[in-house]
Structure formats: structure tokens, C-alpha cells
């Protein structure tokens, strides 16, 4: 019998994402991939998966998923208030986010709304049984490729699971919420900062910018003071890296993210440091950001420090005990010490 999760009610923009489709930008293929690689990594680690295993990226509001497997272990990471429904007509019971849960056949997982972030993740122990496309499971919906049928999840979709049953083991939870950092978003000048006047660069770095409604997986358009060009907005197209901040003729910045096009013809004033891309990928319309310029060397170091913090967050996972339940791992470790055999 096949194990599946069935979408009984879709969320707003739920797509399958991993670390992205790597190696095909030269053919015009965007990388796509998780908007928040930190939360994807944590969700996977909570269920015992390799960090880049494809999971469901929740956009703003998540789906209701019916468990059609004897058991499945999932983990939700993000500011969510999920609940579990034990069967038809049963009342939803709140469950915790930032931890793993063991779900049984017939239960419905209600992922619910994300509060204060645009993005959260649902990882499944063992992952999804979906064929890769060009080496990745990331959905790129503009071309209708990758992930589940190349699109966001819809009512009635049946997601095949790689495992028939949940692997044995305890439930785990985050020791503390991951610190994404506060304050200005760090950027590195370039590739075309010389296309802007000194005044334009000052405006960019000293102003508050508001996330507009035009924010999706491709990029986020910002509202705020107009940035002055010195050599014009148009360039001969060149490559667009993750977090590139392009400024078209109207002078308002657009930050390009996972589903960004591979090349483009607008001058790019700066690039979001990779350490702050996960934070950027969580922004909601109406939120305000400010930018701070750092050097490439500083950005590289911040990123490496963040990877170390991610590793220690994973090493610091705690066993999540059900109320009144026992901590099997702890008991086992104590047994080894005490030499008591039950």
C-alpha cells in the first residue's frame, strides 16, 4: 500500500522546494529553491533527513493534509499555530510548531497561518517520492517544472511519501528559536554600483524601504525614496546572483530571490549578503527594511558563522515528550550509566 498525504484544503502558495536546481543557469534555468534555507534545514534535521531534502514551503497560509499512511513523522518550522484533527467532525487540537510530530492514518494536519513571516516549512521523514527534474525537486512554477506537477499544491493533490511508515525514534524540538539577526539587512555593493550617483547610493543606504504587495518567490519590489542613476538603468544583460538588487528606470529597488531570472538588463546597485537571504525570504508586504553595506570578506565570514550556529542549533535539539510520556533517549542513556536492565 502506498503512503501519501492528501491535500484536503490547499494553502495560499505551497510548493515543494529543496536547496535549488544547481548547474543549469547557463541554459536559462532559474535555480528556484527554498526562500529560507535555515528553516528548511531545521525542519529536515528535526525528522532526521539530510538538510537539503525537498520539503513543502508554506507561503503565508498552509494546507490541511490528510494522512493516508500508517504513520508519518513530520516537522513544522516557522511561526505557525498548527493543529491536528483526529478525523471527520473532530475538534482541531493545537500542536506545537518548531518540532516533529508523529501522525497516524486518518488524522488531518492543519498547518494554518504563519504569523509575522511569509515562509515556513513542513518536512517529512524520508521525504517525498517524486522524481527529480534536472537534479532537483524545487518547483519553478513560471515554467511549470519541478516539485509536484510544476505548481503550487491544490485541493485533491496526493503527495506520495518515500517511506511507508515513520522511522522509530523520539520526537525532537528546537532548543530555542533560531536567531536570524535584527537590524539592517547586510548588502555588498555591486555589480553595478558605479551606474548610480553618490546621491543615489546614499539614498539607498540611508532610507527605509517598505515591502510592497508585489512580493513573491521571484523577488520583492520595495517602496521608498527614488534612487538616482548616474549612467542609466539599462546595461547589456549579465548574470543575476541570489539577492541581487536591481533598480529599473523608475528608481525603486527590486530584490531578486529564488525564482529570479538567470540574466537581466537592469543595473544592480548591491546584493543581499547570503547570511541575510533567509531573513529577506521571510519578509511580508508592509514590513520595513533598511540596508547596511559590508565587504565581501565580512559577508563570507558572517555566512560561515551562521552555518556554525545552524549546526549547533541542530546539535541542541531536545527530545519532545508528549505530556505524561517518557523520554526514551534519556531513559536509554541513564540505563547505560546505571547498568539497570529492565
Amino acid at each position: 500500500m502506498s503512503a501519501t498525504l492528501k491535500v484536503v484544503r490547499p494553502g495560499l502558495f505551497d510548493t515543494v522546494q529543496d536547496f535549488g536546481r544547481i548547474g543549469f543557469m547557463a541554459l536559462g534555468m532559474p535555480t528556484a529553491g527554498a526562500m529560507d534555507r535555515i528553516a528548511l534545514s531545521l525542519a529536515n534535521a528535526l525528522v532526521g533527513n539530510p538538510l537539503g531534502t525537498a520539503a513543502i514551503e508554506i507561503g503565508v497560509m498552509g494546507p490541511d493534509l490528510l494522512v493516508e499512511a500508517d504513520s508519518v513523522r513530520i516537522a513544522l518550522v516557522g511561526p505557525l499555530s498548527p493543529s491536528l484533527i483526529d478525523g471527520q467532525d473532530a475538534q482541531p487540537k493545537p500542536i506545537e510548531s518548531d518540532r516533529s510530530h508523529l501522525l497516524k492514518r486518518g488524522q488531518i494536519l492543519r498547518v494554518g497561518m504563519i504569523e509575522g513571516s511569509s515562509t515556513a516549512y513542513l518536512a517529512i521523514a524520508g521525504g517525498l517520492a517524486i522524481p527529480m527534474f534536472m537534479g532537483s525537486l524545487s518547483t519553478y512554477s513560471r515554467a511549470g517544472v519541478g516539485g509536484f506537477d510544476g505548481r503550487k499544491l491544490a485541493a485533491g493533490d496526493v503527495l506520495p511519501l518515500a517511506r511507508e511508515n515513520a522511522p522509530a525514534g523520539n520526537e525532537r524540538k528546537l532548543g530555542a528559536p533560531f536567531d536570524y539577526g535584527k537590524g539592517p539587512i547586510r548588502v555588498v555593493w555591486g555589480p553595478q554600483d558605479d551606474y548610480f550617483s553618490a546621491k543615489g547610493r546614499k539614498t539607498f543606504i540611508e532610507s527605509d524601504y517598505k515591502v510592497s504587495k508585489e512580493a513573491d518567490r521571484m523577488g520583492i519590489r520595495l517602496d521608498g525614496p527614488v534612487i538616482e542613476h548616474a549612467k542609466g538603468a539599462d546595461i547589456i544583460s549579465d548574470g543575476i546572483g541570489p539577492g541581487a538588487i536591481q533598480v529599473p528606470g523608475a528608481g525603486l529597488p527590486i530584490v531578486l530571490l529564488g525564482d529570479r531570472q538567470t540574466v537581466g538588463g537592469y543595473s544592480k546597485i548591491a546584493t543581499v549578503a547570503s547570511v541575510d537571504l533567509p531573513r529577506f525570504g521571510r519578509l511580508l508586504p508592509g514590513q520595513t527594511v533598511r540596508f547596511e553595506a559590508i565587504t565581501v570578506e565580512e559577508a563570507e565570514k558572517l555566512r560561515r558563522d551562521q552555518e556554525v550556529r545552524l549546526k549547533s542549533a541542530i546539535a541542541g535539539f531536545q527530545t519532545a515528550r508528549p505530556p505524561g510520556g517518557i523520554d526514551l533517549v534519556k531513559l536509554y542513556e541513564e540505563n547505560l550509566i546505571d547498568g539497570v536492565v529492565f
Binding site: A143, G241, P242
Partner: protein
């Protein structure tokens, strides 16, 4: 050779060979793209993820957790210093194209009028152009193919179309292109190929690659219909059309 290194944050940098569109500059871009690919295949340049060639520059992406820009730049400079020669492995690609009728070539008459040619002369000039794929982008598989006969140079249409069919062959400025998906577009539509520029079923879903030499081959409507059906059923013999 004056090469500029442009910063693209801490995960990429762009090697810019010039600020103009020329075959010489693009040749250098493609040679470095190939040289880095070769070095990577030989286990060198650890931490380099991929390279993105455009008309005049090459973006190199890297993993800042396993390397740094300061480590990579001297390696890239050494590759350039060793001399950038095209590896001579240009693929020769033939693209069958049907130029017949309003449906496939709605702009052919207008192009003829604007270039003071007959429609037949426009087709002839397109067939005789020595095309080369400069860059892919904008959407997966969309190739900017330069080398159009100069007598056909036209600006883009003042009124772009909202929707045009997949596999439409179009021209604008000094280039030709083939739309991989049904999409909007502002170029002049002069034909249609039975080939798909992006086909999920293929092991290599994108048909063209940067550096390819391209020639168009005229086919009639009957041949188009047969080949389009074969392409649809995935029974078309692609290999005949691509010479390595």
C-alpha cells in the same frame, strides 16, 4: 585584455570582458566558461558552483562556506592568463522552420516592407545568416541568437503581443530567437519550428546551448505538420539536427 571583476555579494562575482556586444568578447566569455567547466570536471576549483555566460561577461557562483572570493580570483586570473581559446567544440545545430502563411509568419510582410525586400528575400536572408547562440535567459531555453543578416535589422515592435505560440521564430535588432513557451513578446514573427526549445521529457530539456552555431532550414507546411507530430510524440530524431 582588460577584465573587470564585479561583486555579486558573497556567493558570486562577474568577470566582465567588455561593455559591448562583439563576437570577440563573447568568444572570450565562452572560452572561460568552458575552461572553468573543464577545471571543475578535473576536480579543481572546489567551491565553484556554476557559471553563467552572457554576451560580454561570465558570472561565477560559489559556496562561501567552502571557499572565498579571495581564494578564487587568482585561480580565475591564472585561467585567463593561460590564454582563452575557444575549445573548437561548437555544436552545429539545424533548425527546421516553416515560413508559410499568416498563422506562422504574421509579420513577414511587414518586415519585407520595412526592409524594402520581398517576403522571399527576407526568408532567404534569414536562411543565409550565420547564427550563433550568445546567451540563454529570460525564460528557460530562450536563446538570444546573434548573426542576423544586417539587411534585416529592425527595432522591436512598438506594440508587443500579449501571447504568441510556442516555437515561434522571430527577429529583432541583430538577433533571432525561438520562443520556448507560449508567452508575450515584442519581436517580429516570421516562422515556426516543429522543434521544442524546452521539453521536459528529454534528458537535456533545453535544446540550444550557449556557443552553438545555428542555421535554419526551410520546410513546407506538410513537413512541418509531420515533424511537429513526431516532436509531440517524442519520436523525432533530434540527433540528425545536432552535430557535436
Amino acid at each position: 585584455m582588460s577584465v573587470r571583476y564585479l561583486s555579486c555579494g558573497d556567493t558570486a562575482f562577474t568577470v566582465e570582458f567588455g561593455n559591448e556586444i562583439s563576437p570577440v568578447i563573447n568568444g572570450q566569455v565562452m572560452a572561460l566558461h568552458a575552461a572553468i567547466g573543464k577545471a571543475k570536471a578535473a576536480g579543481q576549483l572546489p567551491g565553484v558552483v556554476e557559471t553563467v555566460p552572457t554576451m560580454r561577461s561570465l558570472m561565477v557562483t560559489y559556496d562561501p562556506v567552502s571557499t572565498t572570493r579571495a581564494e578564487l580570483l587568482p585561480e580565475i586570473e591564472a585561467l585567463i592568463a593561460r590564454g582563452l581559446k575557444a575549445d573548437g567544440k561548437t555544436r552545429q545545430v539545424t533548425i527546421p522552420c516553416c515560413y508559410d502563411g499568416e498563422e506562422f509568419a504574421p509579420d513577414l510582410k511587414e518586415v519585407a516592407k520595412a526592409t524594402k525586400k520581398t517576403p522571399e528575400q527576407v526568408i532567404e536572408a534569414h536562411l543565409n545568416s550565420a547564427f550563433k547562440v550568445y546567451v540563454l535567459g529570460f525564460m528557460p531555453g530562450l536563446a538570444y541568437i546573434a548573426g542576423l543578416d544586417p539587411s534585416l535589422y529592425l527595432p522591436r515592435r512598438s506594440q508587443p503581443r500579449v501571447r504568441l505560440p510556442r516555437s515561434t521564430v522571430a527577429i529583432a535588432m541583430d538577433m533571432t530567437t525561438i520562443y520556448p513557451f507560449e508567452s508575450p513578446g515584442g519581436w517580429h514573427l516570421i516562422g515556426r519550428t516543429p522543434l521544442m526549445m524546452f521539453d521536459q521529457r528529454q534528458p537535456q530539456p533545453v535544446f540550444l546551448a550557449p556557443g552553438d552555431s545555428v542555421t535554419f532550414q526551410r520546410i513546407d507546411r506538410k513537413t512541418y505538420d509531420r515533424m511537429a507530430q513526431e516532436a509531440e510524440r517524442d519520436t523525432l530524431d533530434w540527433k540528425k539536427l545536432v552535430k557535436p
